[in-house]
């Protein structure tokens, strides 16, 4: 892989006996200025919704942090999460932060292959028992489904995950597949795919969802772990609140158009050209929690909605099965209009029949009606 240079650490472990360099040392060696580093710490603090006064604390913690061992497991995935991470952030300080973790095992990025690769994983586990981080991308076939759907080195995904997380400090599920099952779990879920949190119950699991996730979110979570040695505050889906606390819709720069009722009706009409709201074109922003609207993509260049594409809701569970991507959020699937007409027609026919029957009954009653005379009544009394 052309861009694997920053991750050379994956194949260049520190020789035994030498201490791991601290993050500060690595950054200085890579030419990152003190000013640039502090700026990163300040923006990390604000990203995680921490007071600015904590920026020096982050700096101090990161400065002395030893490279934590990270084992990256890729299961039923498309490598999009890794692509996102490597492509968009290579020239920035965030990339170096990633470089300063000791990425001891990663299919795509490590140089080793075959037995040597698996050996690297086992070695990293033994050397850092109880302290390493496991990052997972991709879902995996559940314990009850055919393990043959996805294996690595002849080991089922399920066995590899359960074996690897045993000695882990925490598990980070990167991408919607690892966090919620994603595309493999979409109906009819042929491989019986499940998410990491469905299987790992005795270790903290942080979900960094998105298809793919925003790279800054991954670095942010790792920075928080390095700084405080603890996991960030999580939402009900176990996603870091700092990044998944607000809906796309609530932070969208096109929101004023939604509130005013100004919509693009097609992808090339006047509204689309003026940058109006994409709700009618299927934008799932109102039900999607992610940081795209604030952090954007490609180093803050743009993001899907800014480029005129409605949000697909890719950071939400089961977003593949949440109706058409280009149907407005409130639009139901199927053809309810036809159903309404059919049911109405049947109802009208039944009503007609009921009305006719009631009329006949009334007419029959009129025909057989016999007036009663006063004398007849007298006799009855």
């Amino acid at each position: 892989m052309a861009n694997s240079r920053p991750y050379a650490s994956a194949s260049q472990p520190v020789p035994p006996g030498q201490p791991q360099p601290s993050l500060g040392e690595v950054l200085r060696r890579n030419g990152v200025s003190r000013r640039g580093f502090l700026k990163f710490c300040a923006s990390t603090a604000s990203m995680m919704a921490l007071p600015p006064s904590l920026a020096p604390a982050i700096a101090a913690a990161l400065e002395t942090a030893r490279r934590p061992s990270v084992i990256w497991l890729s299961f039923q995935e498309c490598t999009g999460c890794t692509e996102s991470l490597t492509r968009s952030f290579s020239p920035t300080v965030e990339n170096l932060i990633l470089d300063t973790i000791s990425l001891d095992y990663h299919h795509t990025l490590q140089a080793a292959a075959g037995e040597a690769a698996e050996h690297a994983r086992e070695q990293a586990m033994q050397a850092n028992m109880g302290q390493y981080l496991v990052v997972v991308d991709g879902s995996l076939p559940g314990p009850d489904s055919n393990p043959g759907y996805s294996t690595i080195a002849g080991v089922s995904n399920y066995d590899m995950l359960m074996d690897t997380v045993q000695g882990a400090a925490a598990v980070v599920a990167v991408g919607t597949c690892a966090a919620f099952g994603g595309l493999p779990k979409a109906a009819p879920n042929p491989s019986g795919a499940v998410a990491v949190q469905d299987l790992v119950k005795d270790k903290p699991v942080i979900n960094v969802s998105g298809c793919p996730p925003v790279p800054m979110v991954i670095t942010g979570v790792l920075a928080q772990f390095l700084t405080f040695g603890e996991l960030p505050e999580l939402d009900p889906y176990n996603r870091p609140l700092a990044f998944f606390g607000q809906a796309i819709h609530d932070r969208c720069y096109r929101r004023p158009f939604y509130d005013k009722g100004l919509f693009a009706e097609s992808f090339d009409d006047e509204g689309a050209k003026k940058g109006w709201c994409l709700y009618r074109l299927g934008c799932k922003g109102p039900m999607t929690y992610n940081a795209c609207a604030t952090m954007k993509w490609n180093g803050g260049t743009s993001w899907p909605i800014e480029s005129g594409a409605p949000c697909l809701g890719c950071s939400e569970p089961d977003f593949w099965d949440a109706g058409g991507f280009y149907d407005a959020l409130s639009v139901p699937p199927g053809k309810p209009g036809e159903l309404l007409l059919t049911a109405g027609a049947v109802g009208a026919a039944l009503g007609l029949a009921a009305g006719v029957m009631s009329r006949r009954k009334a007419q029959a009653a009129t025909k057989t009606h016999r007036p009663v005379t006063a004398d007849e009544l007298e006799q009855k009394l």
């Binding site: 009722g261 709700y279 949440a322 149907d327 139901p332 209009g337 027609a345 009208a348 009503g351």
Partner: protein, 220 residues
């Protein structure tokens, strides 16, 4: 276990179809039977145009009768406020217009969201006030049946769940939205079989009322 998204898709899919079927079938059976039955033939010479009178009364009933207002100002004011609010929230909220457009093929302009939001809040307060009044007023309380309270709840629920979903109070969001859709479906399902039918039959009653009086040459 069913996930919030599965719940939302159930309310948007099969449950919505069931609700539409029950609503359309039930309502049309009742309305068509009323029309087919018609009114008893009147052999008297008409003194006025029944159709014009009927249509006029359909509109004129919107004007509150001075005597009624004097006797029950609370019912008139609060009643109008929450009825209008309910209709505005139902028909002039952007996502609702989208839903109607996708179902019936016809759409219309909607109101800005903050306006609908404020109107919904007022409507909720109006419905709460109506309930409190019903409970505190001895005559109203005596006249109220369990159906009255049930229908109050059926009317209140879509509004309150919609308000909570809009403000993201219920988490996760698909659960909040699903609850809102489900409550609207309950509204649709019970509509043809309860006093909610007045949404449609009130117009029929107004027309017959006006037509009968107009034929007699009497103001209604």
């Amino acid at each position: 276990m069913i996930t919030p998204m599965e719940f939302l898709m159930w309310t948007k899919g099969p449950m919505f179809q069931l609700a539409l079927t029950v609503f359309a079938l039930g309502l049309l059976v009742r309305l068509v039977e009323i029309f087919v039955l018609g009114r008893a033939h009147n052999y008297a010479v008409p003194r006025g145009n029944a159709v014009v009178g009927g249509l006029r009364t359909m509109y004129k009933r919107f004007h509150t009768d001075a005597g009624t207002f004097k006797a029950a100002p609370f019912d008139v004011v609060v009643g109008i406020i929450w009825h209008v609010g309910f209709i505005v929230a139902l028909l002039l909220f952007i996502p609702h217009v989208e839903l109607i457009k996708s179902t019936l093929g016809i759409g219309w302009p909607a109101l800005p969201n903050p306006v609908v939001d404020a109107i919904t809040a007022i409507t909720l307060l109006g419905l709460l006030a109506a309930l409190v009044h019903r409970l505190l007023h001895p005559v109203k309380r005596f006249l109220s049946t369990p159906e009255d309270y049930a229908i109050w709840a059926v009317t209140f629920l879509p509004l309150v769940t919609g308000y909570l979903a809009y403000h993201r109070v219920i988490n996760p969001y698909p659960l909040g939205l699903g609850l809102h859709i489900l409550s609207a479906e309950i509204f649709l399902i019970v509509l043809p079989f309860t006093k909610l039918t007045h949404i449609f039959t009130a117009w029929v009653a107004r027309y017959y009322n006006g037509a009968t009086f107009a034929r007699k040459g009497v103001q209604s």
